[in-house]
């Protein structure tokens, strides 16, 4: 049986979902659209049922992209996700508005379970719901109370699902009370009729509600939305989050880095010599390591995002940022996609779905990848370690830290600047909308936070991981093999020359490895692009890394590592940084000079070096036009930026 989980935003719907399914859930997409489709397994009397979590909505008529799926599925019995039964979660402390969606779903003629969630909060507010009377209004629905946040009510919901299945379906306003999706006039009339019906229900079933609005306890809001303290606290929270991501993640990341390095070296020594062993020790193992290394950062970022969202703070951040974002052609809601993009542009771009206005949504998607994502961190840290001295400036500020901050700022500044330019270019006459509920503050539940982190990390490792692993293997193959004959001929030439000049055996092996790489497939590609990147200060080896990192930025570091590991004939492995520092051009000057390092950093701030993001943008905008525009404008920015920086500091 398929069970749909529906409800308004902020009703604790995901708590109910987690309570019913535990860890037996998976995240995918609804067919044809990239709206998150969370699915879980609910076992009732040893029979497994599919529980599908739908995006939170106030009405079945959508006002944004992700809400559309609710209407699309529920109005189409042929849809593969059309449910046999609907579980509608409502906030018991705000029954009136919540019943709106419930009565619509009831009128669709689906067997319904109404979950009065957060009944503890309702009691605290002095709201008393007579569920027997409520039941008499909706004879065909099962009605249960729950407090899913603390795990209360699972048994009752399961029981209700069993009972609801055997019920005949009913209708409240009648089956014909629902409108076509685009008929706004009809929506207005329906809303008025529905609410007047709901008013009379509420009058009957709810006792002692304060009739006139009293100022709620919003002391916390007074501070968090204050014209000075609001922004101050917002900035402080961001700083804290990013600081902890960097400092806490460094420990497991070093451990992962070290372990995979050791494993790779151990395999190289212990596996029998051959192409297949090389593939494992130099292609696959470093490839997997390159994926796993991001897990600590991604997990921490999603942990903090989940915490901010669960607590109700994120909506306040949207609230105080809306007015500032508007002149830039953005919406307060753009804050979430842009901030998420600091972890990864992919969830960032997808989070833009909550923006109802098409123009604001497009602008948000277009500029989101300019925010420096976590995939750039390994690139930044490597380049900074290479060319920026680890000294203090004025005794307190570390130069390396300042440069890192500068790179993040550069990305943010250009994201806002480009947004402003796009606002002037893109035409639209759609109204821009905020209309957002500010949920009551809650203490986050660890279970919800940890499930959310676990799911997101899983998606990253499995989806992005496949891509990164594949390219690592491809890269290894391209660097190991070359046009037939050429590589062997080059090797023999190097050996002959070595003998002639009486070089040591070690030196000969080094030269052989280096000429082999130069004559491999990838060496050819690198040489081919060299003229185009010379004005930026890069040689063909950097060129190879730029090309391969088009798949994902972090591959840049991996590529350099692979290129130099392939060349590596020493038994002891120097650290990559030391090795790169020692690289010299033919004239004896270092390859990674100050100007080249800076130029590369600026290049990576701007360049759209992420295939996965482009694919996701295409999915989200339904055409290749936007991702191509994005690729081009970011490419131009990157090339010009890197060119100017290199020429200035050369």
């Amino acid at each position: 049986m398929k069970i749909a989980l529906l409800g308004n935003p902020n009703t604790g719907k995901s708590s109910v979902f987690n309570m019913l399914t535990g860890l037996r859930q998976s995240v995918g997409n609804f067919p044809g659209v990239t709206v998150d489709r969370k699915e879980g397994v609910l076992t009732i009397d040893e029979v497994s049922h599919q529980l599908i979590d739908f995006p939170g909505t106030y009405s079945i008529y959508p006002r944004s992209q992700d809400e559309q799926i609710v209407y699309d599925v529920l109005s189409n019995p042929e849809h593969s996700d059309f449910p046999d039964l609907a579980v509608v979660v409502v906030d018991a402390s705000n029954l009136k508005r919540n019943l709106f969606l419930f009565t619509q779903i009831y009128d669709l003629g689906l067997p319904c379970v109404l979950v009065l969630n957060m009944s503890d909060l309702a009691n605290k507010k002095g709201i008393n719901i007579d569920s027997t009377l409520l039941k008499s209004e909706f004879a065909r629905a099962e009605i249960v109370e729950a407090t899913a946040r603390v795990g209360l009510g699972k048994g009752r919901i399961v029981e209700a699902i069993k009972n609801a299945k055997s019920q005949e379906v009913g209708a409240y306003l009648g089956k014909n009370s629902l409108c076509a999706i685009n008929d706004a006039k009809c929506h207005e009339e329906e809303a008025e009729r529905r609410f007047s019906a709901i008013d009379s229900i509420i009058e009957k079933v709810i006792s002692h509600v304060a009739t006139s609005p009293t100022q709620m306890k919003n002391r916390l809001d007074k501070v968090l939305t204050h014209s000075f303290w609001g922004y101050f606290i917002f900035a402080a929270i961001l700083l804290l989050v990013f600081q902890s991501i960097f400092s806490f993640a460094a420990i497991p990341m070093d451990f992962i880095d070290g372990s995979f390095g050791q494993l790779s070296a151990w395999l190289k020594v212990n596996l029998p010599i051959g192409v297949f062993s090389d593939l494992i020790s130099q292609g696959i193992v470093p490839g997997i390591g390159g994926v796993i290394i991001f897990v600590p950062q991604i997990a921490l970022l999603f942990f903090f995002m989940a915490l901010l969202e669960e607590s109700g703070y994120l909506a306040r951040a949207v609230f105080i940022l809306d007015r500032i974002m508007r002149p830039l052609g953005l919406n307060g809601r753009s804050a979430v996609p842009l901030l998420s993009s600091v972890a990864c542009a992919i969830p960032g771009v997808m989070a833009a779905r909550t923006i109802a206005n098409r123009k604001e949504r497009l602008i948000t998607i277009l500029v989101a990848p300019l925010m420096s994502c976590s995939a750039r961190i390994p690139v930044y840290t490597l380049l900074i370690a290479l060319v920026i001295p680890s000294e203090n400036f004025l005794g307190v500020f570390n130069y390396q830290g300042l440069v890192l901050f500068g790179l993040y700022f550069l990305g943010l500044f250009f994201a806002l600047l480009v947004a402003f330019v796009l606002k002037l270019i893109i035409k639209s006459n759609e109204p821009s909308l905020l209309l957002l509920e500010l949920p009551t503050y809650k203490i986050p539940r660890w279970k919800n936070v940890s499930i959310s982190v676990f799911e997101k990390v899983k998606v990253f490792v499995l989806d992005a991981g496949k891509m990164i692993l594949a390219i690592s293997i491809l890269l290894w193959a391209l660097a190991t093999f070359g046009p037939s004959g050429k590589m062997d001929a080059a090797e023999q030439k190097a050996r002959r020359e070595g003998e002639k000049s009486h070089l040591s055996a070690l030196q000969v092996e080094k030269n052989v490895a280096s000429t082999r790489l130069e004559n491999s497939y990838i060496g050819h590609v690198g040489r081919f692009v060299e003229p185009a990147i010379q004005p930026l200060g890069y040689d063909w080896k950097i060129g190879i890394s730029l090309l391969t990192s088009f798949v994902a930025r972090e591959v840049f570091v991996g590529s350099l590592a692979t290129i130099y590991a392939v060349q590596d004939t020493d038994v002891d492995h120097h650290r990559l940084v030391d090795r790169l520092k020692a690289e010299e051009k033919a004239d004896g000057t270092p390859v990674f000079s100050f100007a080249v390092g800076l130029s590369l950093m600026v290049y990576y701030v701007f360049a759209m070096q992420c295939m996965t993001t482009l694919v996701v943008v295409r999915q989200e905008t339904k055409s290749w036009r936007i991702p191509i525009v994005q690729l081009l404008y970011m490419g131009v920015l990157a090339y010009l930026g890197a060119f100017i920086v290199f020429q200035l500091f050369k």
Binding site: H187, A191, P213, Q215, T225, F228, R323, L434
Partner: protein
């Protein structure tokens, strides 16, 4: 006295009289902003926009532009 919700000060209880026709109307209605409902502006964002409106125990954030579609009357005359 009839006023626009966007002109109301923080903490003054008012009653909704009418919502202007237009694209926004259906969405405002669905959020529970209906005729006869009593609302109060709980607080405003820095720069006075958007505003947080308390209606029947929940808080809604509205831009001034959105709030200006809503005609209200003050409760105490």
């Amino acid at each position: 006295m009839k006023l626009r919700l966007s002109d109301i000060k923080v903490g003054v209880p008012v009653r909704i009289v009418e919502i202007d026709k237009g694209d926004l109307r259906a969405k405002l209605l669905e959020m529970g902003l209906l005729k006869e409902r009593e609302v109060i502006i709980a607080f405003k964002a820095p720069l006075g926009d958007p505003i947080a409106v308390e209606i029947e125990g929940s808080l809604l954030a509205l831009r001034l532009e959105e709030a200006s579609c809503i005609t209200v009357e003050t409760l105490v005359d």
